[in-house]
């Protein structure tokens, strides 16, 4: 609990940055637009229509789609910007709709009275229409506030730190304390901001100056603090910490923490972690220079980035080809292969596999039709799945996508009969599962490799040297043990990583 709470100031600040800035932009867009719409009638249908369509896009998808979209325009596609753009768009509709409704809902008799007493159309707007519409507009702003605070937790997968970091990594490492802290903090923040906005509106309406001043003061202080912390890194860019990325599973959390620790110990350079990136998002982020270092897998790069579907490739050959491809095409350096493979492996309950007489994937072909299969969000969309299906003629009774943290339990409990496990996952042994042999070599080798951005290699070659020394230091069994320590024994990824680095340094000292 206390180690979770230690993360709170950082996550909360980041979450506030996203929320307040997005709300500011949403309001700046929708308030004038809403007013324009009530003046120029033909604008109403397209403006509300577009905002409505944006709203129907699932929030995670809206944030995710910002990544390729911003990359297309050569803008920062991972991190703060895509999150801000997505959240801003999401906040537009409630404010816009309520502005239009509020102003359109002003009694025509009052508008005529306003003209009748001698107001110009500007005075009519500012003295009558706007004040009368204000409660409705503020209701829209409050809706937007609550939505944006909630949806900002989904900024984590596009690389922006938020309270979502608790939720995503907590779900992945089965640390439900972290999930709970994230949820409670987000809900609390939503309540506080909602209350502040309401207090301002209420105070203005009932003319209690003190109340308005206090609420506005708190909001202004939050905003100033947020913007100050946001602007601070702009000054110290030369000494900026090295940014280490990680994908959305336990092994990646451990490895990213381990890299940070190692770099710190070996070179004294500090680093920050950008966690829970989608698999392909992480690679794009490295290419774009939004992160500097992360661990990927040779087979993943082979299939996804190089578009190869050749089967039966030798592990060393594949590694060489991937290394050359990364260097030539993207200027990315492959610093080291860590020594273990983390391949996709089809796994079943051991008892079930024995009952059906299944040892190899080819044994599964004739049973597949009666068995439901579960997998993580990515697998069924990946080329490896196509390769497997073609090579073995697999047709399962049902395909279910779920969070990768949950699928081991799902198969152990019999909710599904086959899963696409990761070969280094300690839960294969822990849940008494059997990983089936890929006897036709449909799945390429998956060496874990450290990738380094062009910029880091140029600016800090000593970091590259330090990372290169990690080559061959982790075997599959070690990785499995570390994963198990987090997933089943509830240790923190950072603690496991620190213990590993300590052991490794001791070993290296003894070895010479």
């Amino acid at each position: 609990m206390s180690e979770q709470l230690a993360l709170l100031p950082g996550y909360l600040t980041a979450h506030l940055q996203l929320t307040l800035l997005a709300l500011l932009f949403s309001t700046a867009i929708s308030l004038p637009l809403g007013v324009a719409v009530t003046r120029v009638r033909w604008l109403e249908a397209p403006a509300l229509g577009i905002a409505g369509v944006i709203q129907t896009i699932p929030s995670l998808a809206l944030l995710a789609v910002m990544v390729p979209l911003l990359a297309y325009f050569n803008l920062q596609s991972i991190g703060f910007l895509p999150a801000i753009v997505g959240l801003t768009l999401y906040g537009v509709l409630p404010i816009l709709r309520n502005t239009v409704t509020g102003i359109a809902g002003v009694d025509p008799a009052l508008k005529e009275a306003a003209r009748g007493v001698g107001m110009t159309s500007g005075q009519q707007f500012s003295r009558v229409e706007l004040p009368l519409a204000m409660p409705v507009i503020v209701a829209g702003l409050r809706t937007a506030t609550v939505w944006v605070v909630g949806i900002a937790t989904l900024s984590t997968p596009v690389g922006a730190t938020s309270l979502g970091n608790y939720i995503f990594s907590g779900l992945q490492t089965r640390n439900y304390t972290a999930v709970l802290v994230g949820c409670v903090a987000a809900a609390g923040l939503a309540l506080v901001l909602d209350h502040l906005v309401r207090a301002v509106e209420d105070g203005v309406r009932t003319r209690r100056r003190a109340r308005v001043a206090v609420a506005l003061g708190v909001l202004a202080a939050l905003f100033t603090y947020t913007m100050a912390t946001l602007a601070a890194p702009l000054w110290g860019d030369r000494d900026r910490p090295i940014r280490i990325g990680s994908k959305t599973f336990t092994e990646q959390y451990i490895l990213s923490a381990m890299l940070g620790r190692w770099i710190q110990d070996e070179t004294g350079d500090s680093s920050t972690l950008t966690q829970s990136l989608g698999s392909l998002v992480a690679f794009d982020a490295l290419v774009a220079g939004d992160i500097d270092v992360y661990v990927d897998y040779s087979g993943t790069l082979w299939a996804n980035e190089m578009g190869r579907d050749t089967l039966s490739v030798d592990r060393a050959d594949l590694l060489r080809e991937v290394e050359a491809f990364l260097c030539d095409t993207h200027g990315i350096t492959l610093a080291a292969a860590l020594g273990f493979e983390n391949a996709y492996a089809l796994a079943m309950r051991r008892t079930h596999a024995e009952a059906l007489g299944v040892r190899r994937i080819s044994d599964l072909t004739r049973h597949a039709r009666t068995l439901p299969m579960g997998s993580d969000y990515e697998f069924f969309a990946r080329p490896e799945w196509d390769a497997l299906r073609t090579a073995y003629g697999l047709e399962f009774a049902e395909l279910r996508s779920m969070d990768s943290a949950l699928m081991y339990e799902a198969v152990a409990r019999g909710n599904v009969d086959v899963i696409s496990a990761f070969s280094t996952d300690g839960r294969i042994a822990a849940f008494d599962l059997r990983a089936l042999d890929d006897d036709r070599n449909a799945i390429p080798p998956y060496d874990a490799v450290i990738l380094v951005s062009r910029r880091l290699v140029a600016e800090r070659p000593e970091v590259l040297d330090a990372l290169a020394r990690l080559a061959g230091t982790i075997d599959a069994e070690t990785m499995r043990q570390m994963n198990l320590a987090v997933d089943e024994q509830g240790q923190a990824p950072s603690a496991v990583a620190a213990a590993f680095v300590e052991t490794l340094r001791a070993k290296m000292k003894n070895g010479g």
Partner: protein
């Protein structure tokens, strides 16, 4: 002096007001009467340009109102609305002060004026000043409406069925107040109503409108004694007919 010259308003091919010409002298109150939809409210609204005429003109003290900026024009003319139209987010005092504030009066002058006006319309300033319209009765609301219309010391008042929505007793009291106020301030006024008793009681002269046209203008006595046609005659006799109906009901001796 208000002068309407050939004032016409058409919506497409439908004429709401057709060639209306009339004059209201200084200090005079002219009542416009006629059935619903006869064009009396439209005529009234063309005077302060809430509605722009299709053709014809309105002259106010030797000036064509078409040449005055609408907001400036309206600040010079008090307008009392049928639906009152007090601004619900403002207090009584702020509602009354609206036009003076638009004219840029200083705060002390406005405060004194609000005080005087609330007294004029027989509301206790100390009690009413800081209330919101929702806290007032219908009669009190329209008293504030009249005060608001008078706030910027207009010489001319336009009143669109101001007491139409009030209960009979309240209406009577407000009519009495208004007669007194008008006399004291010497206002020139156009007053729209479809209540014939009100028309006969308040009007120096009455203009009868039907289907967008003025059929007859004259003093109440003229109209009753020399109606131009049957419609005017019928209209002028409604109060008397109603009295007879009431008398018969109350005195069974005079059976028909």
């Amino acid at each position: 002096m208000i002068e309407l010259r050939g004032l016409t308003k058409r919506y497409g091919t439908v004429a709401a007001v057709e060639d209306v010409s009339l004059t209201v002298s200084d200090g005079e109150l002219l009542v416009l009467v006629g059935e619903s939809g006869c064009g009396k409210t439209t005529t009234l609204k063309m005077i302060n340009r809430l509605i722009e005429p299709t053709s014809g003109a309105v002259w106010l003290d030797k000036t064509d109102v078409g040449a005055i900026r609408p907001s400036d024009l309206r600040r010079r003319i008090g307008y009392v609305f049928q639906k009152v139209g007090l601004f619900p987010h403002m207090t009584v005092a702020e509602n009354v002060a609206v036009t003076p504030a638009l004219l840029g009066w200083d705060a002390t002058r406005i405060a004194t004026r609000v005080e005087a006006l609330l007294e004029l319309v027989e509301l206790d300033p100390a009690e009413m000043r800081d209330r919101h319209p929702a806290e007032l009765s219908g009669g009190q609301q329209q008293r504030v409406g009249v005060a608001r219309a008078l706030a910027a010391e207009p010489r001319v008042m336009l009143l669109d069925e101001p007491f139409g929505a009030l209960d009979p007793l309240t209406r009577e009291r407000l009519q009495e107040s208004f007669v007194g106020i008008r006399r004291r301030l010497g206002l020139t006024a156009l007053f729209v109503t479809h209540d014939m008793v009100e028309a006969l009681m308040l009007g120096d002269r009455i203009a009868v409108m039907s289907q967008g046209r003025v059929i007859q203008i004259g003093s109440p006595r003229d109209l009753v004694q020399r109606p131009a046609d049957e419609y005017v005659q019928q209209l002028m006799h409604t109060p008397r007919r109603q009295t007879e109906v009431v008398d018969r009901l109350l005195d069974p001796g005079i059976a028909p």
